[in-house]
Symmetry: C2
Subunit: 198 residues, 2 copies
Amino acid sequence: MASKDRKQRLKDDTRRNILDAALRIGKDEGWQALSMRKIADIIEYTPPVIYEYFANKEALMLQLTKLGYCMLAKDMREARDKHTSPEKQLEDMWLTYWNFAFTQKELYQLMFGIEVNCCVWDNSIPEAEVPANMIWEVIGNLMGDAATEDLICKRYYTFWSVVHGLISINLVRQGVPDGMNEQVLKDAIGGIIHAIKG
Amino acid sequence: MASKDRKQRLKDDTRRNILDAALRIGKDEGWQALSMRKIADIIEYTPPVIYEYFANKEALMLQLTKLGYCMLAKDMREARDKHTSPEKQLEDMWLTYWNFAFTQKELYQLMFGIEVNCCVWDNSIPEAEVPANMIWEVIGNLMGDAATEDLICKRYYTFWSVVHGLISINLVRQGVPDGMNEQVLKDAIGGIIHAIKG
DNA sequence: TTAATTTATCTAACAGTGTTAGGCAAATAT
DNA sequence: ATATTTGCCTAACACTGTTAGATAAATTAA
């Protein structure tokens, strides 16, 4: 029954090819230009085949969204593990978040509905909680004994808002003065860390 | 030649009706569901008529975007004029910005490309600069002699990032704990104002 | 008043979209 | 050798934005 395995492997390949093709179109032409027929062209199948791997276009994009969260989590984990002090960890993790948003611009757009109407948010993306939880933990460590659920939460959203906000602004508009991004970002992160340490 | 005027008035009415219909669809069913045919149905014309008023769907949505900026500017102007001290003005203006984002959620989405691929950003929206300039001015007033172009810019983007970021997060996800928004928002605004005053 | 012209509006179509139903042929299982 | 499953395709449906071209009404010119 080794042929079963071989077949499964082929199916896995095709599934991967579909996702790869979709991502490539998203990167090359923007999500707006993504269509099932274009994907089918690239993988050299007819469109209905895609529906054997994904329920519909949205489910396909949801998978890419999850991929994005996994990649982001990996990057942030590595950033965290480069340091021992929670302070440095936080700094580097948010800087990594920032960099991810631009090196993986299209995935970031998908993950946060920037210029694309992203997937439904019934809690069907557990992957999204991984980066969040990592940040939470480090904030808790930085706070030490003063850490309460509520306070961590507040700091987390403050961090996230300012970083995600600045990213969003940059992604939909062009014209933030050069050097301004770095100033605002580092200032804000430093400021919040300072506030946490009291 | 009064009939010319009457006709012009009718044309203006139709144009307004088109925009109204589009906005209503956006509010009722989401921008994703907006179509030229649906607009045509509502205004009781056939689709091609719309193209006598707007070059295409995007131009129509751009007009709604501009409308959004005008409404936001009006709200913020009123907020500013309720106070005399720059501090109170800033506070109220950003709170007004926040409220606008939720009372006019669909327009805000359009203006900032949240869950909708918004209009091109070649500087074809001078209306967008009005709220920005108002904030700039008040920040400058608050800074007094210490005000420099660069410093104002930095504070402006810091404000905007955190407010817009928190709004974005709320609009694409549900599940920010209750009361958290107000805490983060007021904390951040207060913190930045504090930083500005040195 | 009649003829010419402009204006308002429509129908029909093109090329594209997501998605589904049904068929055919090859591979597999009985 | 027959039955069944699998893989993949063609064709279609109901949409989408947009345009070309016809038609009838309103306006202007003779």
